[in-house]
């Protein structure tokens, strides 16, 4: 009798709470089936999964957008020096990542984070000010940011693998590919004397703390 009451309580709050969402969700499902047969994201089975997917995609999109702006800031300062082509190359790869996420967001009707204007300005300012410390400063900023992003992608990969690696296989491929490229940028930064900037440890940790805060907020807002 108690167990019935327990299950009744659980089911009731589950069903009634998400009944409205499910009604709305039901209108979206036929649309997704009719647009593309093979998308990167599988059609969500319920509101919980849609919510989880939305968070993952939103924060990844915000991350690539921010990285884009950071490189833009660095190029604005160091564009005409010897490191210009190197930074440009890394920036081009980030642009490709952002394009991919734009595509995924549009396809899956995910709301982008409302803080995009903030990341726009903050990213540019961070890139430009680290570049003002010279080439080593720019490389140190790159190392810090890319390390944060790689860690973040790794934890997403772990979470998705734990849930259901077969279901999310395309998304996992995309994230793994991007994570490998970010690690490449990180290693490039280290190769180009990132560690020789004065106050490297302080700079790196400050930037990584900022990245963690940005990731936390972008998932929710």
């Amino acid at each position: 009798m108690q167990r019935a009451a327990h299950t009744a309580l659980f089911d009731w709050s589950n069903v009634f709470g998400s009944s409205m969402i499910r009604q709305c969700l039901k209108c979206r499902v036929p649309l997704q089936l009719s647009t593309r047969a093979y998308g990167v994201i599988p059609t969500p089975r319920d509101a919980e999964e849609k919510d989880m997917m939305d968070r993952i995609l939103r924060v990844d999109h915000a991350g690539e957008y921010g990285a884009n702006r950071i490189y833009a800031g660095q190029m604005a300062v160091l564009g005409r020096t010897r490191t210009g082509p190197l930074i440009q190359h890394m920036w081009d790869q980030e642009k490709k990542h952002l394009e991919k996420f734009n595509e995924i967001l549009a396809e899956n009707r995910v709301r982008p984070t409302a803080l995009l204007p903030l990341w726009n300005i903050a990213g540019f300012v961070l890139g430009a000010s680290s570049a003002l410390l010279g080439k080593e400063g720019a490389m140190a900023c790159t190392v810090a940011v890319e390390e944060s992003i790689s860690e973040h992608y790794n934890s997403q990969i772990r979470a998705l693998m734990e849930k259901d690696p077969d279901r999310y296989i395309e998304l996992l491929q995309v994230i793994k590919e991007f994570r490998d490229e970010e690690m490449e940028h990180h290693d490039t930064g280290l190769e180009h004397d990132a560690e020789s900037v004065p106050g490297y440890w302080l700079l790196k940790n400050a930037i990584q703390l900022g990245c963690k805060a940005a990731i936390y907020v972008s998932q929710r807002v």
């Binding site: 299950t7 009634f16 409205m20 009604q23 709305c24 039901k26 979206r28 549009a106 204007p117």
Partner: protein, 341 residues
Amino acid sequence: MAALLRGLRAGRTLRGLASVVAAPTAAKPPCISLGRGFHRAALRLQDESKTDKPPTPSSSSSTIHHEHYQAPSEEQEPAAAAASSQEDSTSEAASEEASGANTSYQEHSGEQDEEYETEEQLQARILTSALEFVPLHGWTMEAIAAGAETLDLSSASTGMFTHGAGDLVLHFVAQCNSQLTEILAEQNNQVQLGQAEPKRTSEFLRDAVETRLRMHIPYIDSWPQAMSILLLPHNIPDSLKHLSTLVDDMWYYAGDRSTDMNWYTKRAALTGIYNTTELVMVQDSSQDYEDTWNFLDNRIQDVVKMAGTAKQVQATGEAVVQGLMGAAFTLKNLAGVNQRR
């Protein structure tokens, strides 16, 4: 400006109605499981009323096929559900009778048994049938009770609805939204198959908003009451959710795929247009709501013009910046700063 005054006038009439609505709102039962108790009680009463006329075994076996089919499509076809609901309840009664005891309800109530309707589906059925009584009773518990009675359920089953009349209004809004989404998806299909011309964005949005608002016409006399119910604090989260999904759907089918701040500005603009047009509609007395559609046209033109102006301002700004940079460069040349000696 005139539009704003009209909106304010409508707002004043709403506020008057809000005080009327606040009084008869049903008291919320303190315990969540009370809702489930009502559900079980309602079905038990229904079962008892059916024991007087046991159906023949042949009819019950044929109706079991109906309910297996009915379960997945219930929410999309409220009319079909209402039609097959009678067969549903009689075959349920038959199967319960065959198992022997009323206590079997308690085992089934926690699970989604195929032969047993979920509480959600039952609520949807009651609310759909309650909509017929809205012109008579308004958006109130009386309408829900009358609806429950047409389904041969006790009017005490209205205790299931903890938000009172708000549940009825939200159900209606959700129903209208899914109807609109179906219509827009169908139009989209037609365009993709090449059977119809794609409309311009402003035209598309105008038609979508008109289609959606026309769904209020059968209930337009009591719609101000419904609007003020949606503004009650415990209904606001749900009504905002419905509004945001409605606007998102409209923009999605209009072709918006933006992933930056435009996502927010476009939806905010359309929400404003929709809400103000709704307000104008409830106090519109012209033939076939012509004034409302004219108002809608003007608002959409406003937004289109604003977007165009914003683009122009941006282009002008860029041109000005370029001009200034050029002037600065020329001055540097004249001053000899740019030379390398």
